[in-house]
């Protein structure tokens, strides 16, 4: 496998800006779909594209031991890797209550309904984001069946990054923050995690490949 750390160290502001451009369109699409689904206005902030030491990523979710829900969707096609959608506990409860129509507390248990509702939300976000990438870059991306976990942020992120082939010390993170206009705050993160070779494909298609 090619060395991802080497590749990432060569990405400059031009490459990161190009990635951010595409990610912004994806986030816009995702916000529209999610707002329709929940009948509530959901906003997505302008995505942050950054190269972070892998062990710093859990800090964005409130620390290694903070409880989060995470849906991981593997992607196959012209680019491979995965997308990870995470929500903190209270945001997951808020979103689920909106969707299911009754009060939900996932700390007690995640039932079948909550499980599929969370995966559905992740599917929508993933789909709209990936559409933006496949249209803008003219590539085929096929999402696979989502998988859900509710556990410590550190454990979840560690597994997601390792399983998706990001075995370097650094990781490319395209991070979109979800926020809602509903009474309670919704805080979520959306990560696109390409494998090392797919990063080349994306950059080539964007016309900003580095040697």
């Amino acid at each position: 496998m090619s060395n991802l750390d080497d590749k990432l160290s060569k990405l400059g502001p031009i490459q990161l800006d190009a990635l951010r451009e595409v990610a912004s369109i994806g986030a816009g699409n995702a916000a529209t779909s999610l707002s329709e689904m929940l009948n509530n206005k959901i906003d997505m902030k302008v995505p942050k594209v950054s190269i972070l030491p892998v062990d710093q990523v859990p800090e964005m979710m409130g620390g290694v031991e903070n409880l989060i829900t995470a849906v991981l969707v593997r992607i196959k096609g012209d680019i491979n890797g995965g997308v990870l959608f995470t929500l903190d506990t209270s945001s997951a409860n808020t979103l689920l209550s909106l969707l299911i129509g009754e009060k939900v507390n996932i700390e007690d248990s995640i039932g079948e309904i909550e499980d599929s509702a969370l995966k559905e939300i992740a599917n929508i976000l993933t789909g709209s984001n990936l559409n933006a990438f496949s249209q803008m870059l003219d590539i085929q991306i096929k999402p696979e069946v989502p998988s859900l976990a509710y556990d410590m942020a550190g454990a979840i992120l560690e597994v997601a990054f390792i399983e998706l082939g990001q075995i370097g010390d650094y990781s490319l993170v395209i991070e979109t923050e979800v926020s809602g206009s509903i009474a309670e705050e919704i805080k979520g993160h959306f990560f696109l995690i390409p494998d090392p070779d797919s990063l080349d494909v994306i950059l080539t298609k964007l016309g900003v490949l580095v040697d």
Binding site: M1, V145, D151
Partner: protein, 153 residues
């Protein structure tokens, strides 16, 4: 993640948020010197020049034993405990590549066997995250999880 620490009897060594990674402690009862590694992958690829050797089972265990020896531990008296190697996400089409937790456990077991270091406690596999704490005064290891009570190894 991918970290490695050794300490003497007054130290407590902690690694948080173990998923598919394996937390490994090696402890020498007599000197009360112990250490912990947070192993991410089974083996260090030979073509890999960069990256931390602390994150691969084969290289991490060598470094850990070396550091324990330098600190004054009797490496022939070492006993091992391990935790982690979980599969956090369940995919229906699980293939070999995504069984990283299992592969990490197997790699650690194999290397320890070859070095005649007994594993006297393990809390591994399943599907939940773990935090591992090594108390060097007693050699006790406490495993904390979100979904279960603490486990003492």
């Amino acid at each position: 993640m991918a970290d490695l620490k050794v300490g003497n009897k007054d130290d407590i060594i902690i690694t948080s948020g173990l998923g598919s990674c394996v937390g490994l402690t090696l402890y020498d009862n007599k000197s009360q010197i112990g250490g912990m590694a947070h192993i991410m992958l089974p083996e260090c690829p030979s073509n890999r020049k960069q990256g931390k050797p602390e994150k691969y089972a084969d290289t991490a265990i060598e470094i850990l034993i070396d550091k324990l020896q330098k600190k004054g531990a009797n490496t022939r008296g070492l006993e091992a405990k391990m935790a982690g190697g979980a599969q956090m996400f369940n995919f229906s089409n699980s293939n070999d590549r995504i069984r990283i937790g299992d592969r990490n456990i197997e790699a650690v077991e194999k290397i320890l066997r070859s070095k005649n270091i007994p594993i006297i406690g393990a809390e591994v596999r399943e599907n939940y995250g773990r935090t591992m704490e090594l108390y060097n005064d007693t050699g006790k290891v406490i495993i904390k999880t979100v979904k279960h009570d603490n486990i003492v190894l």
